[in-house]
Symmetry: C2
Amino acid sequence: MAMIRNSGIIFRQLFDRTSCTYTYMLACSKTKDALLIDPVKELIERDLNLINQLDLKLKYVLNTHVHADHITSSGQIKKILDGVKSIISKESGAVADVHVENNDSIKLGENIDLLVKSTPGHTNGCVSYFLANGPCVFTGDALLIRGCGRTDFQQGDSGKLYDSIHSQLFTIPDECIVYPAHDYNGNTCSTIGEEKLYNPRLCRTRDEFIDLMKNLKLQLPKLIDIAVPANMVCGV
Amino acid sequence: MAMIRNSGIIFRQLFDRTSCTYTYMLACSKTKDALLIDPVKELIERDLNLINQLDLKLKYVLNTHVHADHITSSGQIKKILDGVKSIISKESGAVADVHVENNDSIKLGENIDLLVKSTPGHTNGCVSYFLANGPCVFTGDALLIRGCGRTDFQQGDSGKLYDSIHSQLFTIPDECIVYPAHDYNGNTCSTIGEEKLYNPRLCRTRDEFIDLMKNLKLQLPKLIDIAVPANMVCGV
């Protein structure tokens, strides 16, 4: 069963067809407090409409890292909704209301408690957010479905990414659902168990992984020169 | 909580970025028997790979209707995997191993029992598949998230669609999750309660709805002349 099962949590996965980014909305069904993970600037209206229609109160906007392929809506949301706090890792160096570090806990309402897991390698400030009572983990660009984030810009480091995934994510129970920040093949989720068995990049030795990542020969994201500086300051 | 909660069911939502079609995979976690709803021909490898990696046995391929915008992979899957049965409504007039009608039940393994709900209007053979122990309903092109299927070709009938949705879908409990065959705005699911409140087309009188649908002025789907005849014979 690859789905959050906890009935105390309202959950939505949202997709940006342009950058293939997944945004996640989590809310406590008791207090109606809500948070967004990795929202996309162009889709702010869709996301805020949904929160409004579901009668939720947005409290936090989290980013898993400083994105290079799209601009976050966190700053814009803060301008529209009073009291919303932006959250990103301290290590990212980006501006935010709250800076988190490994093992920090982000509590919301009565039912949501996200554990911050430091998973650098794609960027040096990448974190994953683990929800024990999902169970699920929002892996950003560290672990993707049958893939992983690239490591050839923004302080990327293949060895570090391999270690992050193996020590911080592959140690979570197998049935935990993986919700990544992107998927380009129409997959919406996976599980830790599946990725341990079938991720073609991670089922290798560390040296093989580093070698493979060195030879991907990918084009730079179109938006990188605009998105990275913008995302260092909440996208505004 | 907009997600299937039943832990006896393995569930995946899959997306086709070209036609914005959602394919669904459901399996009984006990017997490992699986079914696919609305699979897309070009993505057969992705879908069969997933079933293989999850160690499932595909038994049924269901279509909610004769699609006009993509070709089903049901016939091709039957050629590859022995014993798989294709399922579509009798009313559709399409070739299949099993023809279903309103109130029929499709049982799979120990945990899956889909109730067929006749929801014509987009085409005259449209059905929705209701899973009471989700609870969720796969609505095909009848009810979309904040929208509905068009009614200007393939025996489309706006009045019939309005009646189908109101009598067959809006009578399901509010918390039931809606999984449509398409979404063009990056939404992955909704609930019956939300659509009753916020679907801009369905929150109208029957006459207003018919009038609105008459004036949509949509272009024909690019693939209609290829997809409809192909889908009448399982896509092959």
